[in-house]
């Protein structure tokens, strides 16, 4: 049941587009910085398979320049 957080770096001028694209994915919680070109992303999935699928979805977003994982937890559901 992975929970992960990332710093997501957009391509130049694409921060808003990227934030919208990420926010549209159910497993994603998005917190864009107000004054810097970086977005905090927290993902939450139920299984490792879902996690793999999500990873593929993220990699397919064209406005992502770099996805850097900060923390990862494998937390059981309550």
């Amino acid at each position: 049941m992975p929970i992960k957080s990332y710093l997501v770096h957009p391509h130049d001028g694409k921060k808003e587009v990227l934030a919208h694209a990420l926010a549209a994915i159910t497993e994603c919680e998005v917190l864009p910085a107000e004054n810097k070109d970086v977005i905090v992303l927290v993902t939450e999935t139920d299984t490792k398979i879902e996690e793999e699928i999500l990873k593929e979805k993220l990699e397919a977003i064209p406005s992502i320049k770099l996805l850097a994982m900060v923390s990862g937890f494998d937390a059981p559901k309550n």
Binding site: I3, Y6, A33, V42, P76
Partner: protein
Amino acid sequence: MYQSVQTNRRSFIKKMAMLSAMTAAASMFPGILFAEEQERGIPEGANLDWKKTPCRFCGVGCGVLVGTENGKAIAVKGDPKSPVNKGLCCVKGYHSILALYGKDRLTKPLVKKNGTYVETSMKEALDLVASKMQETIKDHGKDAVSIYGSGQWTIPDGYAASKLFKGCIGTNNVEANARLCMATAVTGFLTSFGIDEPMGCYEDIDHADTFVLWGNNMAEMHPVLFSRLLDQRLKRGVKIIDFATRTTRTSMAADKSILFNPQSDLAVGNAICYEIIKNGWTNDQFIEAHCNFNKGLTNMGYGLEDNYKFTDKPEKISFEDYKNFLEDYTPEKASKISGVSVKDIKYLATHFGDPNKKVMSFWCMGPNQHSRGTWMNNIIYNIHLLTGKISEPGNSPFSLTGQPSACGTVREVGTLTHKLPHGVVMNKEHREFAAKIWDVPVENISPKPTYHTVEMFRALDRGDIRFMWIQVTNPMVTMPKLKRYRDGAKKEGRFIVVSDIYPTPTTDIADVILPSAMWIEREGMYGNSERRTQYFEQMIDPPGEAMSDTWQLIEVAKRMGFEKQFHYKEETHISEIYNEYRRHHEGKKHNMAPLEVLKSQPGAMWPYVDGKSTQWRFNAKYDPACSNGKDFHFYGKKDGKAVIWQRPYEPAAEEPDAEYPYWLCTGRVVEHWHTGSMTRRIPVLHQAMPHAYVELNPGDAKRMQIRTGDMVKLTTRRGSITMPASVNERGVPAPMQVFVPFFDENMLINDITLDSFCPISKEPDYKKCAVKVEKA
């Protein structure tokens, strides 16, 4: 005693994941703002009224904007107009308003009757406080009553306390918890410069090339200021050197981390001075024009016995004498004492010695909570004075404070036993000056200081003090060797009044508990580390019968017959008191800004002269009080010269031995404000750091087969405590050292700490005692 907190683990982990990423972003992008996080929780369509205030928590004095709606504070964000934080906040600041709304806020006065607390009216409670104080004075004399306040007192709180106790009642039994954190900074300034508080300001950060952090975990204790350092590193490539006894988040972010053995900073500081002189890096012109050399008494003791007294005897020496003294502190000799390599000592010295580098020193509790703390402060000043790197943009020895008004209230108003708002009780002219403004006979003000904080609690234990009023502080968590003072406070014949906003271990010893108004529930001012006084208006009503500490004091003063001195009107008392207080500081050396100025901008730095804050004192280019016709004027001293002090290395009061082989160091964490009485009631902060722990060195832990979460028993000569281990997590102590944060009232580490103190400042050394460590 320890109980784990039940939380929704998954949502907690999500929050932690978010915070980890935000923290990582903050270290990569100093100054980064997450507006959505700041405005999270604001109802959609809310019509907020945003008002400015300094943050409630630490001594940095960040400007924040609080959004209120329908009488409730519902949002907070950094004030972009504040020159202190430029819109940034730390994790405590972002959540500060939640501290107003804990479920167990004290809203009614409580009086202990037959062992249980009974609700009463504020009128009756204040009547009882006044009558008990009068009865105690009648039966035991005026020096049997006392007040113990705080660096979280607003300026009017501290002023009213000092005026009532020193001016009206006539006892110098006035102390504040800043004695436990900033008293050493004060004696450091007074001995070296004759006048308190930093000569520079935060703008020095924008000019310095090297930052030396002396035992100062800025990344956790002053995170907003630390982010300004990181920002300068990105922009200008400045160097950050962390000089500490333990590896912390600051060490990890620094360009260079140097670890030293506890107490041996004295030796390393002297070795830096030795190197500066030996290599010809001194600024001889500056020294000749602006410095004297002194030595003082040595082998002073550690204040462990009741009624301990010490007065230093300064003696002038020559530069040559000082050079001879430093022969004992060659890098090689200092290396043996400190464990710091000769190379690293020389590395530190080169940064100070390079004439093309501007250097800023920062320190806080490391050199202050130190049994030779005044000496350590002196030694840091020595380094800056020998090189002339002082009182100009970027060259700045800067002592940071921990509390929002340790400077503004305790140091400037003077709520310590020996102090007056202007000057000291021992000085006849100062007493006359205060008596005139206070409208009391000068004979009322006693010329003799009574008890500093540790001795005040010892006096309570002995029975010399019978009545104590404690406001805005939690000594039953913070006093060293706590058990003695807790038992003392509970003895028969003691009467304790506690004004606070939540139940704490200190309210547990109270006979009367008065509910206080907190921060923006009343009007007031704080003074931060850079001499900046900041005003905040009342934004919301306090709950129930809660009342500001200022007005509690005024009500009691009136009941005791001091209506003439406490003539203030309820609607205008804060401005009346501030305007009266300003009279104590009139003049170019300490003038305070008018209230209208404080209301119109995010604070002003004293001396406020000709409509301007003074950023760099003692420098004729910036400071209108300089009058000697030279480039610098250290006017705190009669001859206008600063003092370079000969101060040796001496060991700590209690060092590890065969029976207690480890060093115990205590301190703080970023999530919690001091004893956690407010921040532990903020769910996100409490969940982020739910309980105390003991940090061990990984090698020691492996040898004892201790892993994170295992219970560990710590034993000192004062007693034992058991708590969970932390290995290779936030901080990593050096081998044979352990660290414990003190915020957790369920794991009172101060039950086993030592009450040794610096003989000059009387500030306890919370950083060093000997402890035995065992797997429980």
